[in-house]
Symmetry: C2
Subunit: 128 residues, 2 copies
DNA sequence: TTTGATGCAAATCATTTGCATGGGT
DNA sequence: ACCCATGCAAATGATTTGCATCAAA
């Protein structure tokens, strides 16, 4: 907790506690509902603002599914599999990315700073 | 023009004309503005509905940039480079994708039906 | 005490939808 | 004539923001 985070408020602590071990890639609203249980007076705006801070501090990553941002406490570089049946998001790791990307750029004049790879399909719980 | 498209309306024709040779990956609103010039009475809702039809008919592809859908008349499978400085979107093609993806799935129990790869950075017009 | 953070509500942005009317077929 | 498509406006969903007040430092 540093950089963009200037004050250690109780709501920031509670929000971080609510998401730090989440594997479900919750939306801001889902985080809000979870935080509400322990701090009913929290506001949705505060949840949004603190999630932004955590992202800026690189304690969270964002995955966009449809029109909704979802938050992932796994910050190591990784990719996502999005189940089109149930909406669940799964993390997975690829090692051989670097060479793939650098060999297929539109031109050397393009500087790549990041990338995003998402696979869509049916997860194992939704087969059949 | 078939499948989901049941009627050949003038607005559908005009909307298709407006986007079919576009390289700029316009948003619905940008298509609307362009269509308005030739058909001032068109409504934004109609533009949205017809863009959806064209996507369903596989005459257009969607690229999501931030919270906004952008439309691409290039329907062959390809990837996107998104310039974080100017917002422009560039198409590019990768051949060796298949082997990469199939070798890095979370598990064989996951069925992948599509994927989306986007590179972010600075395009050649925005260097320096 | 100072000033960033909060709660609340209103605002914004992109997109969708309900409904009466219009226009393809 | 049928009934899908349109124009319009209101509704929706996600997220942001203005502002008076509160509480970390």
């Amino acid at each position: 907790m540093k950089a963009n985070t200037k004050r250690q408020t109780r709501q920031l602590q509670v929000i971080w506690e609510a998401i730090k071990d989440e594997k479900s890639h919750p939306s801001a609203d889902q985080v809000y509902e979870k935080v509400r249980r322990v701090m009913p007076s929290v506001s949705l705006g505060t949840v949004y603002r603190n999630l932004q801070k955590l992202v800026a501090d690189e304690k969270l990553q964002v995955v966009t599914v449809g029109r909704t941002q979802r938050f992932d406490p796994t910050v190591e570089k990784h990719e996502h599999f999005i189940c089109e049946a149930c909406g669940r998001v799964y993390d997975f790791f690829v090692d051989s990315k670097r060479k793939i990307f650098s060999s297929s750029l539109p031109s050397e004049a393009f500087t790549v700073t990041s990338h995003q790879l998402a696979l869509y399909g049916k997860c194992k719980s939704c087969q059949g």
